[in-house]
């Protein structure tokens, strides 16, 4: 099977799951059960198999079962392209999150090279209405899914910018020091913008060719106030940083650069900005983008990504829901989906396996059903 899927997942002391063990056969997984049973916790645990803080953006220590205080662990067998890997991540005591791949310690960024995981969670329903930070993160996750080295460029940029911000706050006038930091910011920043643009054009191409029941979105990168973004080249950034020093000093922080970029989306067929669309349309646009991202990844990575779709069924009417399931299955992606009732997944029929999650005395119990 040339694809990407978890074939086994074990959670130890992860949030409400004292101990969970699931074997899968690569089919999508429908997780159902009442509110608070611990369904999303399973998705969150899977999201920890990618670099970063996972789908809740929580601190690693907070994912432990609070009562025990001995940390947590997620162990997974990941089938990636032609190979199987054993991936273990977790926290012990006060230490930072550790990762091992096939028994060898690895950096978090290494996870991005073997696994591509995309998610859609209910808090993202307000993506087009709220601050630019969330949209930028959405854009960066998209870029990261195609280009794992996006993470390194972001870290370099952030690091140099924190130093520059310190200089600005200290009212330093050492032009040479600013030059040196801005040079690094310009290089890393240009790389960040380039991978973001590349991601958008891949997603746009994947939308063009697709037969899909979900609406097309036209994405573009804008400046912080919705204006057209400058080209983001090294030279342009270097000039912008140098010219902005006086203004930045008054603000005490860097006001221009890729860390201020915003993502704008237009409902293509209606030529309407996403933020003006109805709640249902906004949700449909998001699903459309995740599916396009997944299709584009299937081409570039060689396999569709693992999808984590939290409460995705609830907001869709029966036809759209069936269309979503059909598209996931056509794509061949292992989607892990949650919903409160088993009937939400009826349209999947035997194309998915099912997990029934219940809760007893604060502890989740999970029952696999064929």
């Amino acid at each position: 099977m040339t694809r990407l899927a978890l074939t086994s997942l074990k959670l130890a002391a992860f949030r409400s799951h004292a101990s969970l063990r699931v074997e899968t056969d690569g089919r999508p997984v429908a997780i159902y059960g009442p509110n608070g049973a611990g369904k999303t916790n399973i998705l969150e645990a899977i999201s920890m198999l990618s670099p970063g803080r996972g789908l809740r953006r929580a601190a690693a220590a907070d994912m432990a079962r609070s009562a025990t205080g001995i940390g947590w662990r997620v162990t997974a067998e990941l089938h990636s392209l032609e190979q199987s890997h054993e991936v273990v991540t977790g926290v012990e005591g006060d230490a930072a999150r550790s990762v091992t791949i096939d028994g060898k310690a690895a950096a978090q960024v290494a996870l991005g090279r073997i696994a591509r995981i995309l998610w859609l969670v209910p808090v993202m329903d307000r993506l087009w209405l709220e601050g630019a930070g969330e949209r930028r993160r959405f854009l960066d996750r998209m870029a990261l899914s195609f280009t794992p080295s996006h993470a390194e460029a972001s870290i370099t940029y952030e690091r140099a910018m924190r130093d520059r911000n310190r200089l600005l706050k200290d009212q330093s006038r050492d032009a040479g020091w600013y030059d040196a930091l801005e040079d690094q910011m310009a290089r890393a920043g240009a790389a960040i913008t380039a991978t973001r643009m590349e991601a958008l054009s891949r997603v746009a191409r994947a939308q063009e060719d697709a037969a899909t029941a979900f609406p097309r979105a036209t994405l573009s990168i804008t400046g912080p106030d919705g204006e057209d973004a400058p080209d983001g080249s090294e030279d342009q950034l270097r000039r912008a940083f140098a010219e902005g020093r006086r203004r930045d000093m008054a603000a005490g922080r860097t006001l221009t650069g890729p860390h201020r970029a915003d993502l704008s989306a237009i409902y293509t067929d209606k030529d309407m900005p996403a933020r003006h669309c109805s709640t249902g349309e906004q949700k449909a646009l998001l699903i459309s983008l995740i599916l396009a991202n997944a299709r584009a990844l299937a081409d570039s990575f060689g396999a569709p990504p693992i999808l984590l779709l939290d409460e995705v069924a609830a907001h869709l009417d029966t036809d759209r829901r069936a269309a979503l399931y059909d598209e996931i299955c056509a794509l061949g992606a292992q989607a892990w989906m949650t919903g409160t009732g088993a009937e939400l997944f009826d349209a999947l029929g035997p194309r998915a396996m099912r997990l029934h999650v219940t809760e007893e005395g604060g502890e989740s119990r999970t029952q696999a059903e064929a």
Partner: protein, 200 residues
């Protein structure tokens, strides 16, 4: 934690445990070994430490650590005075010396620029560096700094300060380590190596 040894010995163990590479357990083992091999280890070590404590100091010229005001490298007539290698720390200087391939002199900055850590140009030995370069003998400065954000920022900063003084400023190459296989390199190193490729 008491070891059942005397107060002075426990004090020694506690001090040793603060050294890099040692912890409480290895410090206890080291102290025990020294005491058992008193003539071979403890006495000579105590004497060596007393001497080093009395004489160790920073070279006023380059910042290396030696036992006189000017270190052996700065006073050696065999050293090329026209090439200067700029390093972050004395440990980097010692690493360069171990390789036995550099015949010029050094300048130890004592750190790298980091606004967040409060290390600015004044905290580094920059005035001294500029004075040395301004004396006119130095033709080339080699920046041997780490490939970190702070290291590269410092390299860029120094290049801007030193080039107007009329010298050539170079930096160490970045890329495939000697004896290394491409397969094991991270993407950043491979792309640096590709950018710095040269004809055979």
């Amino acid at each position: 934690m008491s070891d059942g040894a005397g107060k002075e010995i426990e004090q020694l163990i506690a001090l040793m445990a603060k050294l890099p590479g040692l912890g409480p357990r290895s410090a206890r083992r080291a102290v025990l070994t020294m005491i058992k091999k008193r003539r071979l280890l403890l006495d000579p070590l105590a004497q060596a430490m007393t001497e080093v404590a009395a004489t160790a100091r920073e070279c006023v010229e380059c910042g290396n650590i030696g036992t006189s005001d000017l270190c052996d490298i700065c006073t050696s007539p065999k050293r090329d005075q026209t090439i200067l290698c700029i390093v972050e720390d004395v440990s980097d200087l010692w690493a360069m010396e171990r390789a036995q391939v550099f015949s010029g002199r050094y300048h130890v900055l004592g750190g790298v620029l980091s606004a967040l850590d409060g290390i600015g140009p004044d905290e580094l030995k920059l005035p001294k560096l500029e004075t040395r370069v301004a004396q006119g003998q130095i033709k080339e400065a080699i920046l041997a700094l780490g490939a970190t954000v702070d290291g590269q920022t410092t390299a860029h900063y120094l290049a801007d300060r030193l080039e107007p003084l009329g010298i050539t400023v170079t930096t160490l190459a970045q890329g495939v380590p000697v004896g290394g296989e491409l397969d094991y390199l991270d993407d950043g190193t491979i792309s640096a190596a590709l950018r710095a490729r040269k004809s055979l």
